[in-house]
């Protein structure tokens, strides 16, 4: 292949390095009103009275809105297909505020200083309610977060707000309790993961103006322009046809920009004032008032024979969705659906749980989307089982893990809030991933540990993972290819490039099929007026779903070109061959350049433009094996990461270096969640770690070495054999590192993050236990 699977530089990398204005705030209309939001200081309160008169009178203030000024239409902010599997439990502004940082009032003023001053002039009388801050006390709590009569689910998702339940689900295959009772060895453990903040480098931003058609045009840092448009229309009862949403370059999302942030607020202000408006989130607002990862408590039970055959898995989840239910059901379901099939040959598997409301920053989509939490629990539990079985953890996995050609009953049962889609693993290179990972991490030499010095131990730990490639039968992507004179193409896609370089990857697919070079494919993406539909950048769907649409469109364009060339050459299509530049029919030849000019200006003139769509019928998972090599200081518990080895099966990597970047960026986010990123909340529900001084993401000195390879794999259902690669990298670090720590010093950490203090405490406890045992 000439373009696909080549390490080509991205289309926009150079311009972005040169600092060209390309991000949302760069496109705010000059003289835009500034929007600032008054945010709740209480975790849970009712607004008894709100007086905005003084604020309204401040010179320079154009508009002040409270819940009394807004319609009472419930919606969800979740960026998902419609009807959404998330409860419609949000109003533009409400009488209740449900977390510290929740929206109380909206101010629009001529400049930042005036807007901020106006906020201080708003007088609010709150009746403070008792917040629900511990998600284990949410169900049956006397405080009900969502008593509103208007809220509802779109279809049954287990929505039970009177019990503070946003969603619930359960499934089973076989009889787990009966099988566990027969097993030689059973382990039972509870694992806990915390919230995590995305910390994309660009804070959320959005601006709006009315154009020369008097249509509302928004620029937004969004992963889902189409969902934004639909939700604005629904929530504000504004005609869909009069809204245009444009996504420019975005400085990272990782799921944090998948749901609505400021778009409804800005749209509302624009509609009420008729003026251009903008809103840029402060970093504090990004931490407190956008989204975070769902914290979870996962109860795992595994049962096996003493020969290492895994026979049963029981996985029960309690998930904390915070103040509103965006992505509550679907993240929780992925905790099971994109984790448990890894051990597909069990006789019985059971998955279930509840997602509850609490008075915390709402949780939402975040790379991994439940799979990282579930992977931590399952892959830690597997190692705990291996310890009890006295079996090598790699040998156990080789024996029990999913293999190519196999399937799992879970695929058919569990979908995106609905039933799933059965599928066979046409590609699954886990065996290679594990074997190669062992080589690269020198597993045989390092497992379980090597004493490096008096107080220093080196060890390895590993985990396997899977994810998905889009949501089958729901996620649709489409692509339009337009021919220009001079023989180059426009590729119009709805697919949202948020930094993962999908514009480039999709252009590579088009160029490969059309037999041309990347510079002849001009990409324009994510403009709801001009680009065809795409659900957006989530669920690892872009390469597989949008890519397949691009491939279909390119194939169709080629056919159309050949038909036109045949007409121009006065022959039939079956006589014509095309190499991307020239059409040949026997002795006759015609260049693409000449054909396109002819079609524009000279004979049989027509505009060639094709649009094709794609909906997946399955979601072929990428797979990977992750191996963490660490060194532990046995006196202090401090951990150094020596190397993290990733061997990934994502089918054909369309752009190998960019794909490697996806894996490595995700690995580092996963390591961050495992070791460094810990949100701290006071007993009143205030997020203490609400800036980058206190919330620490990994730096380039914390992680010095990553080793990443791709397995040779070709997924026939994917464009040029590709599967997805956007999320898979994030899933393995928590278990791989926890397993490495156990292998190093015999301390099993079940509650993230893995910290030196926890390790140190564990080492001391082990020593004490040894002493006690010695005494016996």
């Amino acid at each position: 292949m000439k373009v696909v699977n080549q390490m080509l530089p991205s289309l926009d990398g150079k311009a972005l390095m040169m600092g060209r204005p390309a991000y949302t705030d760069d496109f705010a209309a000059p003289g835009s009103l500034i929007v600032k939001v008054l945010r709740s200081p209480h975790a849970f309160a009712r607004i008894a009275d709100i007086d905005v008169e003084e604020a309204r009178k401040l010179p320079g203030v154009e508009l002040v809105l409270t819940y009394k000024d807004c319609s009472r239409i419930p919606f969800t902010r979740a960026g998902q297909g419609y009807p959404e599997p998330s409860p419609h439990d949000k109003f533009v502004l409400d009488e209740y505020v449900r977390y510290i940082g929740d929206e109380v009032a909206i101010v629009a003023a001529v400049d930042v200083q005036t807007a901020e001053k106006a906020l201080t002039l708003i007088k609010v009388q709150y009746v403070v309610q008792k917040p629900v801050l511990d998600f284990e006390t949410a169900v049956g709590n006397e405080s009900i977060l969502h008593p509103e009569p208007e809220i509802h689910e779109m279809f049954p998702i287990g929505f039970d707000p009177k019990n503070n339940i946003a969603a619930a689900y359960k499934m089973n295959v076989g009889n787990v309790d009966a099988v566990l009772a027969q097993c030689d060895v059973v382990i039972e453990q509870t694992y806990r993961t915390t919230a995590q903040s995305h910390v994309m480098m660009e804070p959320h931003a959005v601006n709006a103006r009315f154009d020369h058609h008097n249509r509302l045009v928004l620029y937004s840092t969004t992963q889902t322009p189409v969902h934004v448009r639909r939700i604005i229309s629904q929530a504000l009862e504004f005609p869909l046809a009069k809204i245009r949403v444009i996504k420019p370059r975005v400085g990272g999302g990782f799921g944090g920009k998948q749901a609505i942030h400021g778009e409804i607020i800005v749209a509302l202000v624009a509609i009420r004032t008729g003026k251009p408006v903008k809103m840029v989130y402060t970093r504090k607002e990004v931490f407190e008032s956008t989204y975070s990862r769902h914290p979870m408590k996962i109860d795992m039970r595994l049962g096996a024979e003493k020969d290492g055959t895994l026979r049963a898995i029981d996985c029960q989840v309690l998930s904390d969705t915070g103040a509103y239910g965006e992505h509550a059901l679907t993240v929780f379901m992925v905790t099971g659906s994109k984790v448990l099939p890894l051990y597909n040959k069990v006789e019985a598997v059971r998955f279930g749980g509840t997602v509850v409301y609490t008075n915390h920053t709402p949780a939402g989509a975040f790379r991994g989307y439940g799979a990282i939490q579930g992977n931590f629990a399952l892959e830690s539990a597997v190692d705990e089982l291996c310890a009890k079985l006295k079996m090598d953890p790699v040998a156990f996995r080789k024996k029990n893990m999913m293999k190519e050609g196999e399937s799992s009953p879970i695929f058919a049962i569990m979908g995106e809030g609905t039933e799933g889609t059965a599928m066979v693993m046409e590609t699954c290179k886990l065996e290679h991933c594990v074997a190669r990972g062992m080589e690269l991490s020198d597993w045989a030499h390092n497992y379980p540990r090597r004493i490096i010095a008096k107080n220093r131990v080196r060890s390895v730990g590993m985990a396997i993972a899977m994810q998905g490639s889009g949501i089958p039968l729901i996620d649709m992507g489409s692509a339009t290819i337009k021919l220009n004179d001079d023989g180059f193409y426009n590729l119009l896609v709805g697919a949202t490039d948020i930094g993962q370089k999908s514009d480039t990857v999709l252009a590579q697919i088009a160029a490969e099929e059309l037999g041309t070079t990347l510079d002849k494919v001009i990409v324009y993406s994510s403009d709801t007026d001009l680009t065809p539909f795409d659900t957006g950048a989530y669920a690892s769907s872009t390469t597989y779903v949008s890519g397949n649409a691009v491939l279909k469109a390119a194939t169709k364009m080629k056919e159309t070109l050949i038909t036109e060339a045949a007409a121009a050459l006065e022959t039939t299509a079956d006589q014509v061959s095309f190499d991307g530049e020239t059409f040949l029919a026997g002795e006759k030849r015609l260049t693409l350049k000449d054909l396109s000019n002819r079609l524009y200006y000279n004979a049989g003139q027509k505009q060639l433009m094709v649009t094709e769509s794609y909906v997946g019928h399955k979601s072929p998972p990428p797979f990977m094996a992750g191996f963490a090599t660490i060194e532990v200081d046995t006196e202090t518990g401090e951990v150094d990461i020596i190397d993290y080895v990733s061997v990934v099966d994502c089918g054909t990597p369309i752009n190998p270096k960019l794909a490697q970047g996806q894996v490595e960026g995700a690995i580092v986010q996963g390591i961050g969640m495992t070791m460094f990123e810990e949100p701290i909340v006071t007993k009143d529900g205030k997020l203490v770690t609400n800036d980058l001084l206190s919330y620490k993401i990994p730096t380039r000195l914390d992680i010095r070495k990553l080793t990443t390879e791709f397995a040779t794999s070709y997924e026939a259902s994917g464009p040029f054999g590709a599967k997805s690669v956007g999320e898979i990298g994030i899933d393995t670090p928590p278990a791989a590192i926890a397993n490495a720590v156990y292998n190093a010093v015999g301390v099993r950490i079940t509650d993230l993050p893995v910290t030196p203090e926890k390790i140190w405490k564990g080492i001391l406890a082990n020593r004490q236990a040894e002493v006690q045992n010695g005494k016996k």
Partner: protein, 150 residues
């Protein structure tokens, strides 16, 4: 009040308030490559060069810049292109939001210590956070950029 600064080789008389920082002032002076990332001097995204030295523009009082020489990435376009070629070759570019700040810091490193070891490169850039890339490909790209004496 007005400050007299050289911005990317051009003398400019800029209107500033006492409490303005370089970040806002430079963006208002059409250097849109200078961006805000964090509000707590912790991310490096807003880095510019003052007299050739990297500083966080969010925390550098504009009035103190009077009489000094400021460089944003718009002022080192050829170097930025060169670095971009190396980033492209390593697949080190993703969202690009913090790239202008890397370009300036890498450029300053090339002027100061062009033979920097990998650890020296990491140390020099440690204050420039990146959430997208995982840092490895960037290290390779910057190393090649430093080695590139063309």
């Amino acid at each position: 009040m007005k400050i007299n600064v050289e911005v990317n080789g051009r003398q400019r008389l800029l209107d500033v308030q006492n409490g303005d920082y370089l970040l806002e002032v430079l963006r208002a002076a059409d250097c849109l490559s200078v961006r805000r990332g964090c509000d707590s001097t912790s991310c490096g995204v807003c880095t510019v060069l003052v007299d050739g030295k990297p500083v966080p523009s969010c925390s550098y009082l504009a009035i103190r810049a009077d009489g000094h020489r400021i460089t944003t990435v718009e002022g080192i376009a050829a170097e930025a292109e060169n670095l971009a070629n190396h980033f492209g070759a390593e697949g080190a570019d993703q969202c690009g939001y913090c790239n202008p700040s890397f370009a300036l810091v890498a450029y300053a490193l090339k002027q100061t210590n062009p033979d920097a070891t990998d650890d020296e490169i990491r140390e020099w850039l440690v204050g420039n956070l990146c959430r997208c890339s995982g840092y490895q490909s960037q290290l390779l790209a910057i190393r090649h950029y430093l080695e590139d004496r063309s």
